[in-house]
């Protein structure tokens, strides 16, 4: 693989991808909106903690439960903490949990699915039964059980979220790989002397990447919801660290007494993030798929 003859291609592969990405994003307003939202989320995750007006952990007993105002854009909570600062700072933690869990399941689920679809036989049966077993549980309850058993840490939330998404990835990858197992280019790769493992990694994997990308963006939203859900019921991220799920939980009790802003703004942030990831799938596929690059 090190001797890829690419040195003569006039524009570099990266530049070509970039210009193609620009074309895809410009071509569809929904995709453009979703990518704009994603940029905003990433910006908040990277620079949010440095830019917010208040310390997200500092309580101010003189300003508890204030409604949104110019001083506190999203209001303050029971301890007088600034909700706007907390919502922005929470972006980093929520994105870290969802991105790393999706990356984890993408690697393990995707590879297991490709192995199952491409090699078949006992690998297929083992992977299939593991996926079936996981699917047999109510997924959120399974995630609760895993976190409760392993302990209440961010790492364990990531692992639990990855495990419950495993069947989705393994099954999609298996189906796509088994369709391509008999394709002409796979036979041609065999004739060229490629081993089965190399064929799976260099011929099958790149070709199912576009479909996996769509899957990835869908589960990303699901992963955020799952992490927030775990925190909401008290498993997972612990207070006082700012996290959307906890913040909604903290504000839920106060909605009846009229302090709607405590739960509303983190909930809105959660909704926008999930919305963004769900919209981004099609655009992402078009960028990754060379067939669209005419």
């Amino acid at each position: 693989m090190s001797a890829l003859p690419v040195q003569k291609s006039p524009p570099s592969a990266f530049a070509a991808t970039l210009s193609h990405a620009r074309y895809v994003i410009a071509g569809d307003p929904v995709t453009a909106f979703a990518f704009g939202l994603l940029a905003l989320l990433i910006f908040a995750a990277l620079f949010g903690p440095a830019l917010v007006p208040y310390d997200p952990l500092a309580s101010d007993t003189s300003a508890t439960l204030q409604a949104p105002s110019l001083r506190h854009w999203f209001g303050t909570d029971q301890l007088g903490r600034d909700i706007f600062s907390r919502v922005v700072v929470a972006t980093r933690l929520d994105l870290i949990i969802s991105v790393s869990s999706v990356a984890l399941v993408f690697a393990f689920g995707g590879l297991a699915g490709i192995a199952a679809g491409f090699f078949g036989g006992w690998i297929d049966r083992v992977v299939g039964r593991i996926a079936d077993t996981i699917m047999a549980f109510p997924l959120f309850v399974l995630a609760m059980g895993i976190v409760a058993a392993l302990g209440n840490t961010v790492t364990n939330i990531v692992i639990a979220t990855a495990i419950i998404n495993f069947p989705l990835y393994a099954r999609v990858a298996r189906a796509e790989a088994s369709v391509r197992r008999e394709a002409g280019f796979v036979m041609a790769a065999r004739l060229s002397g490629n081993s089965d493992l190399r064929i799976a990694l260099t011929s099958i994997l790149p070709n199912i990447l576009p479909i996996m990308m769509v899957q990835m963006s869908l589960t990303m939203g699901y992963a955020i919801l799952n992490a927030a859900g775990l925190s909401f019921i008290g498993l997972g991220v612990r207070p006082p660290s700012p996290e959307w799920g906890i913040m909604v939980a903290e504000g839920a009790a106060s909605i009846i007494s009229g302090e709607w802003w405590i739960a509303l703004f983190p909930g809105l942030a959660l909704m926008l993030a999930v919305f963004c990831f769900n919209l981004i799938g099609d655009g992402l596929r078009d960028i990754v798929d060379p067939q669209r690059r005419t």
Binding site: P5, G184, M187, R190, S195, S203, P290, Q291
Partner: protein, 562 residues
């Protein structure tokens, strides 16, 4: 021609909005179809023949629109009819048959029900007699036992049967015009003959008009009254089919006719006039390179249904395996090209897969250069030292190239595995040499398969196959997916490469004209067995077996050349 044509297309221009601006697919098309007439529309891929028919049916995809011109069908202006009016016209007035009959049928509905759907849609039958009418429609397309076939699913029928069902669907509502878009591409010669004769017969019986869209001049010649030749979105010639073959007026028509393989010519005669190619060097076949003895491939039968598993006779029938290849013995000499001919399902692809060591034989030996390679499991053969010496060119150039590899990467693949250590620059130079050998422009090396034309992709596939200087190349219908003019170039290239590199070919094909041009010897296969073998001219000019005679008789009569 009658005074008022049934279909009158004049000045038709169709545009497509693409990323690079608006593209004209067809321009200024004029064609008329009289009542009861069969019109052939002939052209190579990209000539706009399908787009024209889609415009007539108003089923262009969203990016396409009729920019100019008119389409008048028995007094109705179709070019500005509403979608609602078109729904009444489609199926009832004008019907269409598509290229791939299997794709045109709904795979999970019984064929009888699909015919009923059409009848119901156009209110051609009430609920009482609808089944009768559907069965009657099947009977009219000469399907044996229509009562039983009514309950069949498309996958249970052969390709030719499926095309008959599609024709039954198209004709169920007695349309006045039938548009057949490559109705027999992908079907065997004998099936092609049966389907074409059926279409012509039904057309005559019902006084229908037919537009036959095809890339095959021979087919159009045999079955059409008039022929329209299209090139690059324009009509270049319109004439009665008899005249067009005696006196082709346009240079493009002459080029097409030259490129169509037919008896009594050499490979070089396919090339356009004035090409200065040297005569093909002919080498005498040497010692045997590959000897196949008693080759057998068996597949286990699956019980037809759950209930059949409980019946003793069905279980016993399932216990007898299906023999796809049944005791094949032959040899290929060095520098020889051997043709393997037969209809689909005769086992020729299974045979070539076993020779390529992609599939393990059930019994028999494959002796390559003194070594029994049939004994090496196919899984292990990929890294076996003999692997580089046996290579293959696949039937579908698109399917056989990894969509994510550039042409250079695809050609380099075997070199990376077997070429030994090589610097990136040396590899690139080797790829460029190979590209030059197969006549692929060097600036195309960095393109992806979908950015290449069919002929260019075929060249990439050939360059990849010869990269390791193999002794034996299996060519599995290498030109079946190509236009005739491209086919002419590729066939000549293959013949030149063989002489140049001293390779042997096993040429698997169902096209007897092509086999005659390129092969020294021919094997005719049927149901996994050899029915006849001998030199190409002996077998094709003086066939001994009935089956071979049948195959030759099914070829559309090639246009006579002046």
């Amino acid at each position: 021609m009658t005074a008022i044509p049934l279909l009158d297309v004049s000045g038709l221009t169709v545009e497509f909005a693409t990323r690079r601006g608006v593209v004209e697919a067809v321009r200024d098309i004029d064609l008329q179809v009289a009542k009861g007439e069969t019109l052939g529309v002939v052209g190579e891929s990209g000539s706009g023949k399908s787009v024209t028919s889609y415009a007539v049916m108003r089923i262009l995809d969203r990016a396409g629109r009729i920019a100019n011109g008119s389409v008048v069908f028995s007094g109705v202006a179709l070019h500005d009819a509403t979608e609602r009016q078109m729904c009444d016209v489609r199926g009832r007035e004008i019907s269409m048959i598509f290229q791939n009959p299997r794709a045109a049928l709904n795979p999970i509905r019984r064929v009888g029900q699909q015919i009923e759907d059409v009848l119901r849609q156009h209110a051609q039958a009430g609920s009482l007699d609808i089944r009768e009418k559907a069965i009657d429609a099947l009977r009219q397309v000469r399907i044996a036992n229509p009562e039983e076939r009514y309950d069949a699913y498309p996958f249970e029928l052969s390709g030719g049967m499926c095309q008959r069902v599609v024709i039954a669907l198209a004709l169920a509502c007695r349309p006045k015009l039938l548009i057949a878009d490559e109705p027999t591409t992908g079907l065997d010669a004998t099936t092609q003959k049966a389907v074409m004769e059926l279409i012509v017969e039904l057309t005559r019986e019902r006084g229908m008009s037919t537009i036959l869209i095809t890339h095959d001049l021979g087919l159009a010649a045999a079955y059409c009254d008039r022929v329209v030749v299209m090139e690059k979105g324009r009509v270049v010639e319109t004439a009665a089919s008899r005249d067009i073959f005696d006196h082709p007026a346009h240079a493009y028509t002459r080029k097409l006719m030259r490129a169509t393989p037919r008896p009594g010519i050499g490979l070089r005669d396919l090339l356009p006039e004035g090409s200065d190619a040297q005569p093909i060097q002919h080498s005498e076949p040497g010692a045997p390179l590959l000897t196949v003895k008693g080759l057998v491939k068996e597949y286990a039968r699956k019980p037809a249904s759950l209930f059949a598993r409980f019946s003793k006779t069905a279980r016993e029938a399932a216990a007898v395996p299906f023999r796809a290849v049944d005791g094949l013995s032959f040899e290929i000499r060095r520098g020889e090209s051997l043709g393997l001919v037969g209809e689909s399902g005769c086992g020729k692809s299974t045979t070539s897969m076993m020779l390529m060591r992609l599939l393990d034989p059930t019994a028999g030996s494959i002796i390559f250069d003194g070594q029994d390679i049939g004994a090496i499991p196919s899984g292990a053969f990929a890294q076996y030292p003999l692997r580089p010496r046996i290579q293959m060119v696949f039937q579908d150039p698109t399917d056989s190239l990894n969509p994510r590899y550039t042409a250079a990467r695809a050609i380099a693949d075997p070199l990376l595995r077997f070429g030994g250590p090589m610097t990136a620059a040396a590899l690139r130079t080797r790829c460029e040499d190979l590209a030059a050998t197969v006549g692929l422009p060097l600036d195309l090396l960095d393109r992806f398969p979908h950015q290449l034309s069919g002929g260019q992709k075929a060249r990439v596939g050939i360059a990849r196959a010869i990269a390791l200087k193999p002794d034996l190349v299996v060519l599995d219908e290498p030109t079946a997916a190509l236009d005739v003019s491209v086919q002419a170039l590729v066939l000549n290239l293959l013949a030149d490469l063989k002489a140049q590199l001293g390779m042997s070919y096993l040429f698997v094909s169902h096209d007897l004209h092509v086999v005659r041009l390129i092969c020294d010897r021919v094997i005719v296969m049927k149901s996994g067995r050899i029915v006849e073998q001998g030199t190409a001219s002996d077998v094709l000019d003086h066939p001994q077996a009935d089956y071979t005679r049948e195959l030759i008789a099914a070829l559309p009569k090639a246009p006579a050349r002046n």
